[in-house]
């Protein structure tokens, strides 16, 4: 028997179940030496007790308190995927049918777009007409909005000031709306934090 007792680091090697070169003589010594065997068993007992120490639980509202400080943001692509998934049928046959119909519709639409693209004259005429229509709709909408917000007299003054007046009025309106939204959001956040 090797009469040198095990060093603390050698006991740690045995506790970690190391298998490297030199561990076998340590194990053999621990088997034959009563003192070292007792020290090893004591060390194992400490680790066993350590491993048996329980986990402590936080209070019941712990998760809710955390979630009140974690804004959950759903990215647009996830929302889109969920929406599509909600509309898709569950059975395999129905899904194949839907996919076939969607492919047919996409093919017809592509062919139609390609045909329209080849008709240059028609395209120029149609885009011009659509542009005029959109412009007149925008003007009429802006006038209606200004009259509704500022009243007929102020609206007439703004229109008399020309494009600069209209743009300035719209920017002012947008800034006021943004400030209101920001204020309401800050109030809501402060309120939810107080509740939490």
């Amino acid at each position: 028997m090797n009469h040198r007792h095990l060093l603390p680091d050698e006991i740690d090697l045995l506790l970690d179940n190391e298998v490297g070169f030199g561990v076998a003589p340590l194990k053999a010594h621990a088997r034959e030496c009563d003192e070292c065997r007792v020290r090893l068993e004591d060390a194992r007992l400490v680790l066993t007790s350590l491993e048996a120490t329980p986990h402590f639980a936080p209070s019941h509202a712990f998760a809710d308190r955390i979630m009140s400080q974690v804004p959950v943001f759903v990215p647009w692509h996830v929302t889109a995927r969920d929406t599509v998934a909600r509309w898709l049928p569950q059975s395999r046959t129905a899904r194949i049918t839907v996919a076939a119909l969607a492919t047919s519709a996409a093919t017809v639409l592509t062919a139609a777009i390609l045909w329209i693209a080849t008709q240059t004259d028609v395209l120029v005429f149609a885009s011009g007409a659509a542009g005029d229509e959109v412009r007149s709709l925008l003007l009429s909408g802006t006038h209606t909005l200004l009259a509704a917000v500022f009243g007929d007299q102020v609206s007439a003054m703004i229109q008399a000031a020309g494009t600069v007046g209209i743009v300035a009025a719209l920017v002012g309106l947008g800034a006021a709306a943004a400030a209101s939204i920001a204020g309401l959001r800050a109030l809501a956040l402060a309120s939810s934090r107080r509740r939490a």
């Binding site: 350590l50 986990h55 712990f62 998760a63 955390i66 979630m67």
Partner: protein
């Protein structure tokens, strides 16, 4: 409504991926899985239930608010324990609270406060004598853990309470592997020394 998810059986990486997609249930599942280990680690570091709960809450809020930065090549739990350890160590450094008593928070001013912040280690054993011995050993273990230096404490907790490998602990705590082994070996020696009196009493 998103499709129903069976979160309980998913590995951490998948649950984290769902949290990155904004699923609130995935956030809650991550909290459910790790609230006890994280709270226990911090509780054993700071020895004050209310404070530990606040620090554990800070840990989760930090991690979950930055879940989009999580990289799947690391274990989620290692990332979480790293933040928890940093939060606890930062606090201890600020307060210079190195060793505290298991018999109650050092900040406790009244008898009720001391009682409210003291440990009660519940262990189930067959006989009353076994239970008494086990409770004594459990309390002694907790006292011995509390007497360790904070860096030894987090290493030994991660190794023997959370069952992490030396390599995982090194990655979690940003320490060299050799340092982790040294800390754990020293912590074991100190624990053995601290618990020697039990062996002498029983012997």
């Amino acid at each position: 409504m998103p499709p129903a998810l069976d979160l309980l059986n998913l590995p951490d990486a998948d649950v984290v991926a769902l949290a990155q997609q904004g699923r609130e249930a995935a956030f809650r599942e991550l909290i459910r899985r790790y609230e006890r280990p994280v709270f226990s680690l911090i509780f054993r570091m700071v020895r004050d239930r209310e404070l530990a709960e606040d620090l554990a809450q800070d840990t989760f809020v930090k991690v979950l608010n930055h879940v989009d930065r999580y990289r799947a090549e690391f274990k989620f739990s290692s990332w979480l324990f790293k933040i928890a350890n940093n939060v606890a160590i930062d606090h201890l450094r600020r307060r210079q609270l190195e060793t505290v008593s298991i018999d109650g928070s050092p900040h406790a001013q009244t008898t009720d406060a001391i009682e409210a912040t003291s440990f009660d280690v519940a262990v189930q054993q067959e006989s009353a004598l076994d239970e008494l011995e086990a409770r004594e050993l459990g309390t002694a273990i907790e006292r011995a853990i509390a007497s360790l230096r904070p860096e030894y404490r987090s290493c030994i907790m991660l190794r023997h309470v959370e069952g992490r490998s030396y390599e995982e602990i090194a990655a979690t705590l940003d320490l060299p592997l050799g340092t982790v082994k040294t800390y754990i070996h020293r912590a074991r020696h100190e624990l053995r020394r601290a618990l020697d009196h039990l062996r002498e009493d029983s012997g």
